[in-house]
């Protein structure tokens, strides 16, 4: 596990880290991966195709439901930043691009 790989994982998962954290995670994650690699000794690549997974998705239709004003207020009051009842966020379109 290189420093660059840790930084790349941080980028992918939107986690910024200090240099100290990067160094620590580098050794810790490497040793955890070595440990969990034990699963490769139990299930070969060949077996993998023969074993069905236990977990399956259970989905439902999306539906529009009425929400009470009280619930809306509760959600709006949880906004970290707002203008009136609007959620305030950083602009995502860059005018230069």
């Amino acid at each position: 596990m290189t420093k660059e790989e840790i930084l790349q994982l941080g980028n992918l998962s939107r986690v910024k880290m200090s240099d100290n954290e990067v160094a620590k995670f580098q050794t810790e994650i490497e040793s955890i991966l070595e440990y969990v690699g034990a699963v490769n000794r139990i299930v070969s690549d060949l077996d993998l195709k023969k074993v069905p997974g236990v977990v399956k998705n259970v989905l439902r239709e999306d539906e529009v439901v009425e929400t009470s004003l009280e619930d809306i207020d509760a959600l709006v009051s949880a906004f970290p930043e707002k203008i009136g009842d609007y959620l305030k966020v950083k602009k995502i379109l860059n005018p230069d691009s």
């Binding site: 986690v15 954290e21 993998l48 509760a74």
Partner: protein, 473 residues
């Protein structure tokens, strides 16, 4: 501490009222919680709930409410409308829940008096409650030691005798291991037996809410209140999802001997063997069984769980709720908010989960871990054709000292006997064995009983026989 049925008897005969019981609870919290730190918040409105319970008993209106007037504490990763739901994380430091979790609705409907929220490892990730952003909880049996985790606050709240029962969640042992460390009954139901709606998801295919209690009978009462299918949780099971698991006069109990070879504290093993002997004396049959894949459980767990964590924790980005740290642009705001909001264990698991799910490694890690999981399930159901229950120590050691386990792998190894249960989705319960002596302090250690899917009634039956009846509970 009185059990639920003892408390209820007092409420019915009028020798104590729910308001008086709550006053006792608050007194214990005032006296002890500065040191123990089991609670994150204590709720003022509990007084009103206790008062109305007191009135209801006076009017003899208690029949339909099995928990009427009983004070309980709730792990702070479970939503209670209008209350802070922090998951012991900075990113949700001031987050107020906008609705009740299904289990909270049910507990309230059963008359429970929710007195406060309890401390945990951040987002239920850890085995010691040291990963809380608000400081660790201490073990009431020895305050230099951890209470276990992640439901350490709930365990400590019961162990310090503030409340007779507390609600926890268990993803890889987070109810059973603290129950073991704190000398309590700790019960994790069959996956899907209890609704997860309103629980902050950690490992969605593993998480279950359950109960920490002083007696098996109390755990049973609370489980019966909380269980049931829920339209808001599509993974909840119906009564006929799994075959019936009958209660018996005596049981055949399997011991996975090879699994118990290494790494278990000598005293824990000695207590475990003594427990097996007492089971034999009671007329149960103890047999050796083979569960070779269970040894790989921990490896599979530390792939599946972080994978689910990295997905579930993606929602905490400082945009719609929680703490936002402003950056230069939107991406920077995500990065800053999550850097500030998540502790080290959360970050470590998010990175690990992102790694095992990334395209080049998906098959080698996540795919194989899921395959191991399937094979473990098959192996266990085969074992259950020959035995009624499987038994192991709950954790390899008694409670360790605060700060003792710096290395994540050594912390993870505490879960070795508990994670296979979550990976296979079966129910399990930890019961206290005889205590062990450490530096002149008597520390609890637990034994874990594992039943087939839907086998809660069998767990309660054996538990009452080997624990409640002996303790006079």
């Amino acid at each position: 501490m009185l059990t639920i049925s003892q408390l209820r008897q007092k409420f019915i005969d009028g020798s104590e009222t729910p308001s008086e019981t709550l006053a006792k609870t608050l007194k214990v919290i005032n006296e002890k919680d500065k040191e123990i730190h089991a609670f994150l918040d204590v709720y003022d409105d509990a007084k009103e709930v206790a008062e109305s319970a007191t009135l209801a008993f006076a009017k003899k209106d208690y029949e339909a409410k099995p928990l009427l007037g009983v004070p309980i504490a709730v792990k702070n990763n479970i939503l209670i409308k209008g209350k802070r739901a922090t998951a012991a994380s900075l990113i949700l430091e001031n987050y107020i829940a906008s609705y009740d979790a299904t289990i909270i609705k049910k507990l309230k409907a059963a008359g429970a008096v929710i007195v406060g929220s309890t401390n945990l490892d951040e987002f239920a990730m850890g085995g010691s409650t040291e990963n809380s952003a608000f400081g660790p909880t201490k073990n009431p049996h020895d305050t230099s030691r951890v209470p276990g985790g992640s439901s350490g606050g709930s365990a400590a709240a019961v162990a310090m005798e503030a409340v007779p029962i507390a609600i926890g969640t268990d993803t890889g042992g987070s109810i059973r291991q603290p129950a073991s460390y704190c000398g309590l009954v700790g019960m994790k139901p069959t996956y899907g037996a209890v609704s997860r709606f309103g629980l902050m998801a950690m490992g969605s295919s593993l998480d279950q809410a359950g109960v920490l209690a002083n007696s098996v009978a109390d755990a049973e009462v609370v489980f019966n209140v909380m269980k049931g299918q829920d339209e808001n949780d599509m993974t909840t099971i119906s009564p006929d999802t799994y075959p019936d698991v009958p209660v018996k006069e005596s049981y055949t109990i399997g011991v996975p001997r090879a699994f118990l070879k290494d790494g278990i504290d000598v005293d824990v093993m000695e207590r475990f063997e003594a427990h097996l002997e007492s089971l034999k004396k009671d007329g149960h049959k103890i047999v050796d069984i083979e569960l070779p894949l269970f040894e790989a459980g921990l490896a599979a767990y530390y792939i599946v769980m972080p994978a689910e964590v990295s997905s579930n924790l993606a929602r905490y980005d400082g945009i719609r709720y929680g703490v936002r740290k402003e950056g230069n642009d939107l991406l920077d705001t995500y990065l800053e908010s999550r850097a500030h909001g998540f502790g080290r264990e959360a970050k470590r698991r998010i990175l690990l989960g992102t790694y095992v799910l990334s395209s080049g490694y998906y098959d080698a890690y996540y795919g194989k871990a899921e395959a191991v999981r399937t094979l473990m399930r098959e192996e266990l159901s085969h074992v259950f054709t020959n035995v009624d229950l499987v038994i192991t120590p709950t954790a390899p050691t008694p409670a360790f000292k605060l700060g003792e386990k710096e290395d994540p792998l050594s912390m993870y190894r505490q879960d070795i006997f508990t994670v296979p249960v979550n990976l296979t989705g079966v129910p399990a319960m930890s019961l206290p064995m005889k205590e062990v002596d450490r530096e002149g302090k008597m520390l609890p250690v637990g034994v874990q009983y594992i039943a087939p899917h839907n086998g809660e009634a069998r767990l309660f039956d054996i538990g009452k026989k080997v624990f409640d009846d002996r303790q006079g509970k």
